[in-house]
């Protein structure tokens, strides 16, 4: 397991995000699966390049945060940048049949049950 101690230096976080603390990227759920659509390019911010490498196969937002040792909210900002530039695509979770449903779709729950029983 990784060392739980983190670099919590606010200056580092400030630098990583170019000073932005809020994102309009709430669209990125903890378990949204991110896939890169391009290779890192020279001169690219290193966190962006790392994300593109990690997401060469689908990777959840929370896994990216863990790999980069950054808080989830910072990673959401970085993902927002890459998404706006068309460098990643996002596969968002689908749990309910319609947006109004409060409980998960029984069909999805059935899939989960089958998967768990086969473990």
């Amino acid at each position: 397991m990784k060392r739980p101690g983190r670099d919590e230096d606010p200056d580092r976080l400030y630098t990583v995000t170019g000073g932005r603390s809020r994102s309009n990227s709430d669209a990125f759920d903890l378990v949204t699966l991110v896939v890169s659509e391009s290779q890192p390019t020279p001169g690219m911010q290193s966190e962006h390049a790392s994300i593109l490498r990690i997401c060469s196969s689908p990777t959840a937002v929370v896994e990216i945060a863990s790999d980069l040792n950054l808080p989830v909210s910072i990673v959401r900002i970085l993902l927002g940048d890459l998404h706006a530039a068309g460098r990643i695509t996002a596969r968002h979770p689908r749990t309910t049949a319609t947006a109004a449903d409060r409980l998960p779709d029984p069909e999805i729950l059935k899939q989960v049950l089958v998967g768990l029983r086969n473990l």
């Binding site: 397991m1 990784k2 739980p4 983190r6 919590e8 603390s21 759920d29 903890l30 378990v31 949204t32 699966l33 790392s50 490498r53 990690i54 060469s56 196969s57 689908p58 990777t59 959840a60 929370v62 896994e63 945060a65 863990s66 790999d67 980069l68 808080p71 989830v72 909210s73 596969r91 979770p93 689908r94 749990t95 409060r102 409980l103 998960p104 779709d105 029984p106 999805i108 729950l109 059935k110 899939q111 989960v112 049950l113 089958v114 998967g115 768990l116 029983r117 473990l119």
Partner: protein, 204 residues
């Protein structure tokens, strides 16, 4: 995987290229109750950890600087994952149920299928707060009691102590066992399935 990538991802196997739907289940409970152990027992990967921080405006104003004080809350949590099929991946989160955690619930755990409240019968009080909050959030849950070899209490006694409603499943488990932890998850998902299908039948 090239070495630059494995430096970042360790030995974690990549997901299937068709993986498209990530689902969440949260295991909450007091300190040392076995959350990480349960995640590890059923996960395809070694548990990873990460954190989220939140800055809130404080109650008062700092006397010396006359600036409104801010408090930063940091919550660490760990997680594992189970690939259920080529498209669906279940993520399991082990999260501390203490008060400050719940400030981040909406931001982190909106869309969670359901929760497992892991309890140690020697310290049932530790789980009261988590149960309250899950009820407030309308988040369906089950209670799993991990056997640490304390005095034996009947299910009725545990229900009473937790003021658990009849329709919340309560089961015994050993978080160190894969089979037992799997059974806990199946019990939760069966419970969710019942709730969800009866909500449909009763829908107008």
């Amino acid at each position: 995987m090239d070495s630059a990538t494995s430096d970042l991802t360790g030995t974690r196997p990549p997901l299937h290229s068709t993986a498209a739907n990530g689902l969440k289940i949260v295991i909450v409970g007091g300190f040392g109750v076995g959350k990480t152990t349960m995640v590890r027992s059923v996960s395809d990967i070694r548990p990873l950890n990460t954190e989220e921080t939140m800055t809130r405006a404080g109650e008062g104003v700092d006397d010396t600087t006359n600036v409104e004080s801010k408090t930063t809350t940091t919550i660490a949590f760990d997680f594992g994952r189970i690939s259920l099929n080529d498209t669906t991946v279940l993520y399991l989160f082990g999260a501390p149920g203490q008060e400050r955690f719940w400030f981040l619930w909406d931001r982190l755990f909106t869309g969670t299928l359901g929760a497992v409240v892991l309890v140690d019968t020697r310290r049932l009080v530790d789980s009261w707060y988590a149960i309250d909050r899950l009820e407030q959030h309308g988040m369906p849950f089950i209670v799993a009691r991990n056997d640490f070899g304390g005095p034996h209490y009947s299910a009725e006694e545990v229900r009473e102590a937790l003021d658990l409603s009849e329709d919340v499943p309560l089961i015994e488990c050993d978080a160190r066992s894969r089979e037992s932890s799997k059974e806990v998850l199946i019990t939760l998902v069966n419970h969710l399935y019942r709730l969800s299908s009866s909500a449909r039948e009763n829908a107008p």
